[in-house]
Symmetry: C2
Subunit: 225 residues, 2 copies
């Protein structure tokens, strides 16, 4: 019983920080996306491609979460976007307190969209509210078609899933239509995108970008009214 | 402070179960491998290929860990190997207590090697001792060359790493020699294997199998002396 109570306690603390983060984001009119996915789903590469399209329409900033290294942040800096790296030192997910600590490092009045790239992990990040408006799941099709059924929580908590690395389709045993059906069985409301971010074969980024820009603008409009 | 103490407490409880599991395995002469890796690293497919080779030399059994479904266990049953599925119901790793609960379901006197396939997660499983003799990491090269540096704990705690899906090499931006060097920088003692488990292109399984059979036999010999 003690263990469960302490877990609840930790969750309550996290939720309190998340509520504060959410309040700040709303006050500043910043839309926030929490990107989740397995190691190697292609989150950072997708982000690089996405940012160059998004930046034509809205101002984005990024928080990069990793166990170790600042490699991802270095890649995002090259996209000319404000970025702060959080190292969890072995921790398996970002939590709301970690986010709240780095927020003073951003000039929020200048940001429409904050993208948080969580630690590569298809399990734990789904359980922690960071104060985001939306969770977005990225999945490499090379991970295999059985992953939605085997990791349902991440799919249940996300508003959209990006099936990435579709260029690998001919080389992996995955039926993408079957995979989509399985995803929709778990979460009938989830929006599904297909992308490839491989140099020279980039596809699907515009659809994803258009959808995000529209949501961010709608939210901004609504908060002004 | 409470949080840290409780974590220590949880780890102590886990370690106590792990010690009991280890004692039982040793008494029964069963060598135990804890297989870890990201979702979609190819752990179960590797296991299917590996079991058919291993079974020519030693008697194996399998514990399958997943958040949900019994899909992996169903695949292993088809290999004619005793298997028990553990569903963590959303939990991000197996722990030693879960293992201890299913052990009575095996006829241990008839087993040389117990293979535990952990939940697909490159972070949390590395922290939990299950009573195994060895941790083995499986990684799809499609996950990308930066994963060792970004997820060092899993590489530090493993005695061997299997770089799987090497057939995808021509289609992903990974320099496998550079990747190996990065892995050896983190853990100079780690043994590295390269495998492909794709139907019709299976490679590297014999090397891995030979190495494991030799270790299991040595251990068995040593425990008899």
């Amino acid at each position: 019983m003690t263990k469960i109570e302490v877990m609840q306690d930790m969750m309550e603390i996290n939720n309190a920080y998340a509520a504060d983060n959410r309040k700040l984001f709303q006050k500043k009119g910043v839309f926030v996306i929490n990107i989740m996915g397995s190691p190697g789903a292609g989150k950072t590469t997708l982000l690089e491609k996405l940012l160059s399209t998004l930046q034509q329409h809205i101002k984005a900033a990024v928080i990069e979460g990793d166990l170790a290294t600042a490699r991802d942040a270095a890649r995002i800096v090259a996209c000319n976007v404000p970025v702060i790296q959080i190292n969890t030192n072995g921790g398996c997910h970002l939590d709301a307190k970690m986010i709240s600590k780095v927020l003073p490092g951003f000039y929020m009045d200048d940001i429409d969209l904050m993208i948080i790239e969580n630690v590569g992990n298809l399990v734990c990040p789904a359980a922690y509210d960071l104060g985001e408006d939306m969770k977005l799941l990225v999945m490499s099709i090379a991970e295999g078609g059985d992953k939605p059924a085997k990791y349902p929580t991440a799919f249940l908590s996300s508003e959209a899933v990006v099936l990435n690395k579709v260029d690998l389709m001919p080389f992996v045993n995955v039926d993408i239509e079957e995979m989509k059906n399985e995803i929709l069985e778990i979460n009938p409301k989830i929006k599904i995108f297909e992308t490839c971010c491989r140099q020279g074969e980039v596809t699907g980024i515009d659809d994803l970008s258009d959808w995000l820009v529209e949501i961010v603008k709608q939210k901004k409009q609504a908060s002004r009214n």
